[in-house]
C-alpha cells in the first residue's frame, strides 16, 4: 500500500509534527507512514483523511 501523505502535507503546509499532533500519534509514526514502512489502522487512516479534508482512497493507494 502506498500513500500520498507527504504530498498532501505539503499542500496543507503542515509539518510532520503538526500532522502527528492533529491525529494524536508520535512524529515517528508519521515518518514511518510516509516511508511506507507502516500500514495504519482504519481509524488512523480515517483521521488522516479527515485532516486533509478528503477520503481514505485519495490518500492511501491499494495495489495488489
Amino acid at each position: 500500500m502506498n500513500n500520498r501523505i507527504k504530498e498532501y502535507r505539503a499542500r496543507f503546509n503542515l509539518t510532520q509534527d503538526d500532522l502527528a499532533k492533529r491525529v494524536n500519534v508520535r512524529r515517528e509514526t508519521v515518518v514511518f507512514l510516509e516511508k511506507n514502512k507502516y500500514n495504519p489502522s482504519l481509524k488512523l487512516a480515517y483521521d488522516i483523511a479527515k485532516v486533509f479534508k478528503t477520503t481514505i482512497e485519495e490518500i492511501f493507494i491499494f495495489d495488489n
Binding site: 500500500m1 509534527d17 502527528a20 499532533k21 494524536n24 500519534v25 508520535r26 512524529r27 515517528e28 509514526t29 514511518f32 516511508k35 511506507n36 514502512k37 507502516y38 500500514n39 495504519p40 489502522s41 488512523l44
Partner: protein, 132 residues
C-alpha cells in the same frame, strides 16, 4: 510521563544494586562478573533510551504511546519469546557440558532474554511493520 520517570527510577535502582553487588566483594572482580556487569549496563542503557523517548514525546505534547509503538512492543515481545526458547535450550545444553551454579545459569538466561528483547525492539523499530 509517570511511566517514563518510573523507568529512570528503576534503572537507577538496578544500577546502584549491581554496583554494590559487584564492587563490594573483597576478592576483586572476576572476568565473568565484569561481562555480566557489561550486559546489565547495556540493558540499562536501552531502558534509559526507551525512557528518554517517552519523556521527550510527553514533553513535546505528543502521546507517549500510539498504535505503532504498541505494535512494535508486541512484535518485539513475540519475537524475543520465540528466540528465547532457543536460548534456554542452548543454556540447558551448556549446563550439561560445563559445571556452573544454577543461579549463574538462570541469571545468564534472564539477562540473555533482556538483550534479545532489546535487539528485537531495535530491529523492528528501524525496519517498521509492513502489511500487517
Amino acid at each position: 510521563m509517570k511511566r517514563a520517570v518510573l523507568i529512570f527510577v528503576i534503572a537507577a535502582l538496578v544500577l546502584i544494586t549491581c554496583g554494590l553487588l559487584f564492587f563490594s566483594g573483597e576478592s576483586g572482580i572476576k572476568p565473568v562478573e565484569l561481562l555480566q556487569f557489561g550486559v546489565i549496563i547495556l540493558v540499562i542503557a536501552f531502558a534509559l533510551f526507551f525512557g528518554y523517548k517517552r519523556f521527550s514525546s510527553a514533553k513535546s505534547g505528543q502521546p507517549v504511546e500510539d498504535e505503532l509503538s504498541k505494535k512494535v512492543l508486541q512484535k518485539a515481545a513475540a519475537f524475543s519469546f520465540y528466540i528465547s526458547l532457543y536460548l534456554w535450550v542452548a543454556i540447558i545444553y551448556i549446563s550439561d557440558k560445563v559445571k556452573l551454579e544454577s543461579h549463574s545459569l538462570i541469571g545468564a538466561g534472564v539477562l540473555g532474554m533482556a538483550v534479545i528483547y532489546a535487539i528485537c525492539w531495535v530491529v523492528i523499530n528501524f525496519t517498521g511493520i509492513k502489511n500487517e
